[in-house]
Amino acid sequence: MSPTPDLSTPKQPELQALLDATVDAVIIIDSRGIVESFNRSGERLFGFTADEIIGRNVSILMTETDRGSHDGYMKRYMTSGVPHIIGIGREVEARRKDGSVFPVFLSVGRIHGADPPRFVGLLHDITLRREAMAAIRRERDRANMYLEMAQVILLALSPDRRVQLINRKGAESLARREMDLLGRDWLEIAVPADQHQAVFKELATVATSQSGEEHYFEHEVLASDGARHLIAWRCIPLRNARQQLTGYFASGEDITESRRSALEAQQTQQRMTQVSRLATMGEMAAGIAHELNQPLAAIANYASAARRLADSLKLEQLDQDGDVKLALEQIGQQALRAGEIIRRLRALVQNREINLEPANINDVVAEVIGFVAGDARLNEVKLVTDYGNALPTGLLDRIQVQQIALNLLRNAIEALIEHRDGQREILIRTSSLNGWLQLEIADNGPGVPAMLIDRIFDPFCTTKVTGTGLGLAISRTIAEAHHGKLTYQGDPQTGARFLLTLPISGE
């Protein structure tokens, strides 16, 4: 056996200085685990003095669990010669004199030339590092929690637009799992094809902008279930220290609902404006009705006076085609029509009382056809009338029923002008059925679009650019005030077809 070198009092002062200066505990043990040397830092870390430790088994510095296995480790190395810790180091638990436990990083070296072998152990206190790591983990967990809890979509993309991070909200919006999204091309997996180009452009803009500069844009995402969500994105470029683009980071808010309700609010607003405009119009009509009706009355009177005077002067020889007579008649009729328009405008703001009187439906309808005949001729619309014979007398408000008929005829003419190039035709038919009168007005146009059929009698439903959408609504109200009905029975093959049902007089 070679003499045991006394390392607690090293021969070289340099070595002693080194051992004392190092912040790690340095312990030398023999092959049985008996401590031969224990430096200053060791005393500081463990609370033992070198005297208390030297000569005792090193396991005194270990926790209960390590203590039993340490001898085994040493025996294994001694017999196999295969090192498990030497030159590698590992984190272990150490035990102070007062019994408290703390983490250390243990490196072990074998002292060469010694037989039986001796070992030197370096123990580095990693309490602070552990705490720092734990703090980092906590922060990371918290950040993850924020990501997951966030009610906005958080998304990080690589420069080639692959998904690098997406939070739960983002995955939910797309109805996909996070793992199915990571690494995928964002455009392909999430953006509808019709918006690829737009999103591509937006990202290109972000890529060329300053880091930290936020860009706002909106586009839809397409979920796996086919649902589309409109997302408002705020996107920044990510850059490395050399200002190279390393990706994109974006937060996205689902604004589908808020946009929809904003749109609805806007529509309501528009309707209100429209209603108030109508009310204003009605009031104006009331205000100017008197002024306007005076000259209209004069026009009508002059025209009919002229017509009668022409009759009495026997001008027929000079007016063989009856053109003068027609012109004079029309002047009067158009003046009456203008008066009727004013009256109807006023009816929009006044709940007119309904004035039911016995009337011949054919006469009522014939008068209205007189109103639109000019319009129809001008637009090459053929008016085909089919008046029922010996119909029962109706019980109705002549003016209001004419308002319905006029409205239906005007709609039909406008529909034909807009849509039909061939023979334009409107059929006007009167009949009676089961004690009711019927007025049918049908055209050979395209009919009411299927998606609108359920709503055409709703106020403000219109297909015309300048329409108020009130015509059919008012018409149906009038029909119901008669205890009658106004229904749409058309189909795309034959065109639009409206059926007005009116009561007959009991007399």
């Binding site: 005076q294 004069a298 009508a300 009177n301 005077l309 009067g332 009456l336």
Partner: protein
Amino acid sequence: MTRSVTVFVVDDDDAVRSSLRLLLKSVGLPTVAYASAQEYLAAWHPDQPGCLVLDVRMPGMSGIELQAELNHRGAIMPVIFISGHGDIPMAVEAIQHGAFDFLQKPFRDQDLIDRVQRALASDGENRKLLLQRETLRQRFESLTPREQEVLLLVTQGKANKVMAGDLGVSQRTVEIHRARVMEKMGAQSLAQLVRMMLELESDTPQSRVN
């Protein structure tokens, strides 16, 4: 002096007034037009037959006010209101105050002409009745007090003999009075005489027949 049947138009709007005159003239109706209610009232005469076409709203005295004034004066001429406003409450009020009819401007010529002609017919009828009653009254007043006494008794159905007793005269004297009454009243029969008395007693003038 007999006044000829005339349609009067009162409207402050020159064109309406002029066109109405022309329209009524074209169907052969003599028409006189005034621009205000005051002008019409100044020319008004109770014996003037015809009808009045009256604008509801006019500056100064309105059509409704003119109607009230005419009612106050006991006028019997039918009034057809015309209005550019056509407000229902006003029409109702006018009709309640005896208006013959109400038309909204502009109106169909035939609507006005029909109403004017019905109004003229109604006015003629009323005036004829009034004239008859006036004639009867004049005839009645031309009777002596004794003759009036006899007339009343005759129409009560009393026989000559009874009347002679009542009046304390001879039956012959009663017969002479009776013949004078029949002659002065222009009655052909006792029945006609009774009708005349009923007409006279119903003193409420049939001023408006709607």
